[in-house]
């Protein structure tokens, strides 16, 4: 593989970066953690000393090169240091998910053959001790918080600070060895091993080299112009590749400060106090925050509510343009400035997002309204697309080109290609080395030329060059005329409307698409109450003509937006029904994590699907349901089948 980004000079390993920072940014804060109500901080020089003491302690305990050391706990500076100390002595750090149960932990610990475990507290120690008999190579636990562990048999336990003291005492004995081991580290030595969460099958250990970590950190830091003075809040699981790259990779490369919350519950308070300049959160965090703001505004005094509504309307209109530096009228600028003083500023402060210069969300689709809300406030929220195997970054949105429906352009150094079936492949300096002890899976995922399959289907938008992800590749089908059929893409668009709880789109192998819609009882019920519309049951509300009308307008809106997509314009929903019952995991229609089971639904509601395709105006059906106590019953209903307006592909029209 010919990588052009490998640098001959510059730090070649994470410990080398630490030494560089300790010299270059000696007195700048490297880590902060709130403890006993006060933010404690460590400079880069102090961090190096702490890490070195621990590394010497590891040597005293007999850590050998090529060993694995597992790290389990919430985000704390001490645990990040444990990862660095491990690398210093040539040991591979393996951070684990702290909420994993003992069995899951046993699998991973045994698979990597960790000799040492660094555990955050008693809970984690208990889990490891519980499964220690299943582990052949396990030797010792080093624990951080001594609480509750005083009475434990310490034959296999050491306190973290005791190991550091041990290291400091044995400094003269081991320092030469420590330096020799660090000198051996190269771009190709393993920097970290991260286990994928394993939604399908057993977790796989993704081996990332120093090259992966440093090259990715370097290029992504440049992409977003990260600065040494930036602050980040580390609150997402340490075992997740994103946290590793943000809080270790990029933090080490640029030398910015990683802040750890006091506890999981205080994250929002700590967020406000720190005011990070670089922030990552999955869509659901933004969604919850927005909901809580909206609920509190409903309870606010009339004057405040009026001001909020008034200025939010201004923000929605011009906020994103101002953020992107596009020209905006003078009056609008004035109004937005006034809004910043009165509404946006205080609101951002409450959310803890006042200082955010670069904010990212990823992981799943974010609703355009949620996305636009934050951007209109002047928060530079962007999307990225990545995975563990790529050391996070595949694509990201550059400043000024941010939209809710794409995941951005390729990051520096990344190449993309789209396969025949729509699957996205990439190649980059961040491509992982291998799956540990699993050559078959490695070969399945990464080909000889270094191209990695993402498992996601997508396409590159012409003109902008942005990547758009449609669905998991295995769920994407073809319509009768050969067009791409991406049900989840359409369903997500439908589900962004608060009135629609669930949607199932059909059309694989057929000439046109149709859909089942579930209304959201809370949202629609609330609306009915406010408009004096009486209803006795879910069924009655679902087939109320006004509700049907609303849903129809939502479907048509979605059709209009899909029509703009050259690749997917065939997926417009031609006909739909609003179902008489909520799709339910108890009836097997959804999985426990609320994913649609297409096959089950297809068989169970065959009569309704037929009606959607044979043109009949209504369909009578009887459906079996399972109540919570396990008893079975049935609901019969007559459903109205509605036609939705479809739109011609605007681009094709223009071309013709």
């Amino acid at each position: 593989m010919a990588y052009t980004l490998v640098s001959a000079d510059g730090p070649q390993s994470v410990p080398a970066l630490l030494h560089r920072n300790a010299k270059q940014f000696a007195d700048a804060p490297a880590y902060r953690e709130k403890e006993f109500g006060i933010w404690q901080s460590w400079t880069w020089a102090q961090t190096r000393d702490e890490v070195e003491a621990l590394a010497l302690g590891f040597l005293e305990l007999g850590a050998a090169e090529g060993d694995f050391i597992a790290i389990i706990g919430r985000n704390r500076p001490y645990l990040y240091w444990a990862m660095m100390a491990a690398e210093m002595v040539g040991v591979v750090p393996v951070p684990l998910y702290q909420d994993a149960n003992a069995e899951e932990m046993a699998y991973v610990l045994d698979h990597c053959g960790a000799r040492f475990v660094v555990a955050g507290d008693q809970e984690q120690v208990d889990k490891v001790l519980e499964v220690q008999d299943q582990l052949t190579q396990f030797e010792r636990i080093i624990y951080l918080d001594p609480r509750g562990l005083r009475k434990y048999d310490h034959a296999k336990l050491d306190q973290y600070t005791a190991v550091q003291d041990m290291g400091r005492k044995a400094r003269d004995k081991h320092i030469a060895e420590l330096e020799a081991r660090q000198a051996k580290l190269t771009y190709d030595s393993t920097g970290v091993m991260l286990y994928t969460s394993g939604t399908t099958g057993k977790p796989k250990g993704v081996v990332l080299s120093n090259r992966n970590i440093i090259e990715t950190a370097k290029s992504s830091s440049a992409f977003d112009k990260l600065r040494q003075t930036d602050d980040i809040l580390a609150y997402l699981p340490m075992a997740w590749v994103g946290d590793f790259i943000f809080s270790v990779g990029q933090a080490m490369w640029t030398g910015f400060c990683t802040n750890c919350p006091e506890s999981a519950d205080t994250m929002h308070v700590d967020l406000r106090e720190i005011g990070p300049t670089y922030y990552f959160a999955p869509p659901r965090v933004f969604e919850t925050q927005l909901t809580s703001v909206m609920i509190r505004m409903e309870d606010a005094s009339r004057m405040k509510k009026w001001l909020f509504d008034k200025f939010m309307a201004v923000a929605r209109r011009v906020g994103p343009d101002i953020l992107d530096g596009k020209p905006v009228g003078f009056m609008d600028k004035l109004k937005y400035g006034l809004g910043e003083v009165m509404i946006y500023g205080p609101l951002k402060n409450t959310l803890g997002l006042s200082r955010v210069r670069v904010g990212y969300t990823a992981g799943e689709a974010i609703g355009p309204e949620i996305f636009d809300f934050y951007r209109s406030l002047g928060i530079n929220l962007k999307q990225l697309y990545g995975q563990t195997e790529a050391t996070v970054f595949i694509t990201a949105q550059p400043d000024g080109e941010v939209r809710s429906d794409t995941v951005g352009v390729t990051c520096p150094g990344v190449e993309l290609k789209i396969a025949e079936n729509g699957e996205v492949f990439y190649r980059s300096p961040g491509v992982f080395v291998e799956y540990y002890k699993n050559p078959e899976s490695t070969a399945d995922t990464k080909d000889a030329d270094g191209w990695v399959a993402t498992g996601d289907a997508g396409f590159i938008e012409e003109g902008s060059g942005h990547l758009r992800i449609i669905d998991r590749a295995k769920d994407v089908g073809k319509m009768a005329d050969g067009n791409l059929f991406a049900p989840k893409y359409v369903e997500n668009k439908l589900k962004f409307f608060p009135n629609i709880l669930e949607a199932v789109v059909f059309g694989n192998g057929r000439t046109e698409c149709t859909a089942f819609i579930n209304i959201d009882l809370t949202a629609v019920g609330n609306w009915a109450e406010r408009n004096n519309i009486g209803y006795a049951s879910y069924q009655e509300l679902a087939r109320h003509p006004q509700v049907m009308g609303q849903i129809q307008s939502h479907v048509e809106e979605v059709n209009a937006s899909i029509a703009e997509d050259e690749m997917l314009s065939g997926c417009q929903v031609h006909r739909f029904v609003v179902l008489h019952k909520e799709l339910d995991a108890d009836d097997g229609e959804l999985t426990r994590t609320r994913k649609v089971r297409r096959k089950v639904i297809g068989e169970k509601f065959e009569d309704i699907i037929n009606a959607l395709y044979d043109g009949s105006p209504s369909v009578s059906t009887v459906t079996e349901v399972t109540y919570e106590d396990g008893r079975k019953g049935s609901i019969s209903a007559t459903l109205e089948v509605r036609d939705a307006k479809v739109f011609a592909d605007t681009r094709k029209m223009a071309a013709e």
């Binding site: 403890e35 006993f36 109500g37 006060i38 509750g148 005083r150 009475k151 506890s263 519950d265 308070v269």
Partner: protein, 273 residues
């Protein structure tokens, strides 16, 4: 084993010390009602001592005698080897005895932190004037006291509600804040009046863990009143059983469970049979 004057070590390795407090023939009357009739028992250093009994048995009265709120008409309270003269509750507090209440008695309008800080009151030496100027000694003193309060907040895992007014908290959390305030006094004996009343199972488990941890980490002697028999039997080293103001049993949870008088009091016997 527990008759050894210098104390002993429990099966799970905890160090139980010598007798630190002794109640000798306590009788407490409210007018004609005898709430406590001639009760004697002792409390050893470092142990968890439970007082149980049916409603109206006189448990809370007993706790109030220990805390100095009630002065018994007869009998003596011996504390740290000396007979304790009748004294005001604040004097008892200064001696290192702190308590929580059955019906939560927190300052509702104040934040959790401020409530915990009130527990430090007995440790504050500077006067009103110095504190209002808040320079030098007063400032240093408050910083030191705040540090203790913060350690307790951390210990009881209530960091997230540090700045929340108590009135906005759930019942279970209020109980925990009360415990925090009592602990802030760094007591040598901690009196808990029904620490788990009205809690759900999960909250009870949390509270039990905190009580054990407090005993374990700080070596605090704990006297507690509790209704939930399962909890009492799991937590305590020794149990006093009261019924109608009289002591009907005293010993380890195992002894007490097999005591016929206790079984009768709890399950009920026909008195005129």
């Amino acid at each position: 084993m527990k008759d050894q004057a210098d104390g002993y070590v429990t099966a799970d390795g905890r160090q139980i010390g010598p007798v630190v407090m002794e109640m000798k023939n306590i009788t407490l009357r409210f007018g004609g009602v005898e709430a406590i009739k001639d009760i004697s028992f002792d409390v050893r250093e470092g142990e968890i001592r439970a007082i149980i009994g049916p409603n109206g048995a006189g448990k809370s009265s007993m706790l109030n005698v220990i805390s100095g709120f009630y002065v018994p008409q007869e009998g003596e309270v011996w504390y740290k080897g000396a007979r304790r003269a009748p004294m005001k509750p604040f004097q008892v507090a200064q001696q290192g005895i702190a308590r929580t209440f059955q019906n939560i008695a927190l300052f509702e309008g104040m934040t959790v932190l401020d409530n915990v800080m009130t527990g430090r009151l007995t440790h504050m030496k500077t006067g009103l004037f110095a504190q209002s100027i808040w320079k030098g000694k007063a400032e240093a003193e408050e910083t030191a006291n705040r540090a203790v309060a913060e350690r307790i907040i951390d210990f009881l895992e209530i960091q997230a509600i540090r700045k929340t007014p108590v009135s906005r908290l759930s019942y279970g959390l209020k109980k925990r804040v009360e415990l925090a305030r009592a602990l802030a006094a760094e007591p040598s004996i901690l009196l808990l009046d029904e620490p788990m009343a009205g809690m759900n199972v999960e909250e009870k488990e949390d509270m039990s863990r905190f009580i054990l941890d407090v005993n374990d980490e700080f070596g605090t002697t704990i006297v507690l009143i509790e209704h939930d028999m399962g909890v009492v039997m799991d937590l305590s080293d020794r149990v006093v059983v009261m019924d109608y103001g009289k002591k009907i049993g005293d010993g380890t949870p195992h002894d007490v469970r097999n005591n016929q008088a206790v079984i009768d009091a709890y399950l009920g016997v026909a008195h005129d049979a």
